[in-house]
């Protein structure tokens, strides 16, 4: 069909001359990735956390404990008075404050341990997840040093993945999946707008077959999705320092297109319920917005309550995000790849079928 290329070119021209569309499909995800990359990037890999140490006991045991803590690179120790250190913790200048109480040395010598006091703010995630485990490990080392025992039970932790994933590695594939979703669902706005402006009706008076019109539109959206994905992967590597599995990139592109097709189909389906471009936005928002937060692209699925699971399982972004995360950074699978691809294909088939049924020229 020789109208395919002219239609494709029309989509391209319409798109690149539309600053709003360019912003939302290209600039916005780029900004998003950039900000996340800078905030969460691997830059602070060797970072240490401010911890206050208050020694109120003049024993050699207390001094040994202090030395052990100072030996941990992850902890930037500041020694001081209890009141001053607690105040610093309240001001956010310390992640935690460890207090060695009076009588600690004597208690250790007598074999009746007197607990250290650890002050921290449990609402701070890094403190919970990083500082406290480091402190516990430090106390363990100090314990063996003071009691002169040798460790008996040791463990060698081996992770399933070759790399230990950081927050940035978790988030980046999710952000790319989000862009694919937005590019697909909001891409359908072009068709809604053509209908609103009666261009579809005008086209229906020509011999142009519907498949050429839809085919050129969908093909163009997929090119946009691919450009977005490639751009964002490059940014994730450059700004976020994400280590991408290069050998999986072709498969990642394939998944982006499959996800893009599924979301375009959903967009077309939603477009059938909107008379105007203005009317399409809220409908598309209602569908995409919950997925941002509930499909595990920003927050891990296992941190969500059980009752919300069925909803999560019904969201196509859950499967796209999981598939992209597995391929891009080797993230732990939530679902098997076959299930992810199968569900996305099912969304594509069902919603494309519904969209065709509901399609109206005016």
């Amino acid at each position: 069909m020789n109208a395919f290329l002219p239609l494709f070119r029309t989509n391209y021209r319409d798109f690149v001359r539309d600053r709003t569309a360019l912003f939302w499909t290209i600039a916005f995800p780029v900004l998003f990735i950039g900000i996340f990359g800078i905030v969460l990037g691997r830059g602070d890999d060797g970072a240490s956390y401010e911890v206050g140490l208050v020694i109120e006991d003049q024993s050699p045991q207390a001094a040994t404990l202090g030395e052990v803590l100072a030996g941990f690179e992850a902890l930037a120790l500041t020694q001081g008075q209890r009141d001053a250190e607690i105040a610093s913790l309240a001001d956010g200048e310390r992640r935690a404050v460890v207090v060695v109480p009076q009588g600690f040395g004597a208690a250790v010598a007598a074999g009746t341990p007197q607990p250290l006091q650890v002050h921290f703010d449990p609402s701070q995630q890094t403190t919970q997840q990083v500082v406290i485990p480091v402190l516990l490990r430090a106390f363990e080392v100090a314990d063996r040093a003071l009691t002169q025992t040798r460790p008996v039970v040791t463990a060698d932790f081996r992770t399933l993945q070759s790399e230990r994933l950081q927050v940035i590695d978790f988030i980046m594939p999710g952000l790319i999946a989000m862009s694919v979703m937005n590019g697909g669902v909001f891409g359908a706005i072009a068709m809604v707008s053509l209908r609103e402006r009666r261009v579809l009706r005008r086209l229906s008076a020509t011999p142009l077959p519907a498949w050429a019109l839809v085919g050129a539109d969908v093909t163009f959206r997929m090119v946009v999705v691919l450009v977005q994905t490639v751009l964002l992967v490059i940014l994730a590597v450059l700004i976020g320092g994400v280590s991408v599995k290069v050998e999986n990139l072709p498969a990642l592109a394939g998944v982006a297109v499959l996800g893009g097709l599924a979301f375009v189909a959903i967009g077309f389906f939603l477009g059938a319920f909107a008379k105007t471009e203005q009317g399409f936005f809220p409908i598309a928002q209602v569908v995409t917005f919950p997925m941002l937060f509930l499909s595990g692209i920003f927050f891990p699925l296992d941190s969500m309550p059980d009752w919300i699971r069925p909803l999560v399982s019904a969201m196509p972004l859950t499967y796209l995000g999981d598939a992209m995360r597995q391929l891009m950074v080797g993230g732990a699978p939530v679902h098997s790849m076959a299930l992810n691809l199968g569900v996305l294909t099912a969304f594509l088939v069902v919603f494309f079928g519904l969209a065709v049924r509901l399609f109206k020229y005016e």
Binding site: L7, T10, R202, P207, L208
Partner: protein, 306 residues
């Protein structure tokens, strides 16, 4: 006349309770410019869209170029040209881009630059659609209707939004279509347009054709008389004017009056007597022939743009 290009018999189409087209029959001959005249909601557009294959009729027989537009699909659409009302084309595309896009839908297509020249859009060739004036956009949509060099073209109120100069240019273009042997079906609510362009005019109201003939014949059939028009601020009512000598009918809209007379000098004399008697001024008085507008007013009791 050769075999008709369009034949419709007893066409009906309803939208819910509204009978938009209530039994319409007519033929259009090859090479004819056929006008459909009527106010908004008269059923012109619905009739034309059924002929274009864009709407499905409820009942009746329709044959266009020997095909049924409702079932012939793309084979039919290749052969006809269509201009629709209120199409807002891709706002960010340029004029020449839109013309070549539409050309690409057809095997047989006119040269883009020829169409641009034909429509007098040379200096707007690279303008974006959003930047065109109403008249320019309208000319572009007429250009798109003939991009496939059709034998039959439907123009639905093509001069809407045009200034008088642009409208005259469009009329010349449509006369050019006719000179090339194209058949044109034109809807309009400008009676001047119908009078100048159309070989025959169907006057529609409430989904029916209430008169169908050449513009001249329509006027002659309905008015054997000429009209006297004048403005008078007060003192003269429609009833008074109807009583004047040789008057067949009178119509007043505010202070503007028209009286139709079978004997202009006699009516004129009695009108002047009446005006002097009442002390009513007579301003801007002129005598003219009856027009399609008068025909329409007489047939429907309404003006075309009501």
């Amino acid at each position: 006349m050769s075999t008709p290009v369009i034949e419709i018999r007893n066409l009906r189409k309803a939208y819910g309770d509204l009978q938009a087209v209530a039994g319409v029959s007519f033929d259009v001959a090859e090479g004819e410019v056929f006008g459909m005249l009527g106010p908004n909601g008269a059923g012109k557009t619905t009739t034309v869209e059924i002929l274009e294959g864009l709407r499905i009729r409820d009942s009746g027989e329709v044959s266009v170029l020997g095909m049924d537009p409702a079932t012939s699909g793309r084979d039919f659409k290749r052969l006809v040209g269509v201009q629709l009302q209120q199409v807002a084309l891709y706002p960010r595309l340029r004029v020449h881009e839109v013309i070549s896009l539409f050309g690409s839908f057809y095997e047989q297509q006119a040269e883009t630059e020829d169409l641009i020249a034909l429509m007098g859009l040379e200096d707007r060739r690279n303008a974006r659609i959003a930047e065109l004036s109403g008249g320019q956009a309208q000319r572009l949509s007429v250009a798109l209707a003939v991009v496939n060099m059709p034998r039959l073209v439907f123009l639905d109120e093509p001069s809407t939004g045009m200034d008088p100069q642009a409208r005259r240019n469009l009329w010349e273009i449509i006369e050019g279509f006719k000179a090339k042997g194209m058949t044109v079906v034109l809807t309009t609510h400008y009676m001047e347009e119908a009078e100048r362009l159309c070989d025959r005019v169907a006057v529609m109201d409430h989904g029916r054709i209430i008169a169908l003939d050449s513009p001249g014949a329509l006027v002659r059939e309905n008015f054997a008389e000429d009209a006297i028009e004048f403005v008078s601020n007060d003192g003269l009512s429609e009833n008074d004017l109807g009583e004047l000598a040789a008057v067949t009918s009178a119509a007043s809209q505010g202070s503007a009056h028209s009286i139709f007379s079978s004997d202009i000098p006699r009516t004129m004399g009695s009108l002047i007597d009446l005006a002097q008697e009442r002390g009513a001024p007579l301003e801007g008085m002129r005598v003219r022939h009856a027009t399609l507008e008068d025909v329409f007013l007489k047939l429907t009791g309404r003006t075309l743009r009501d």
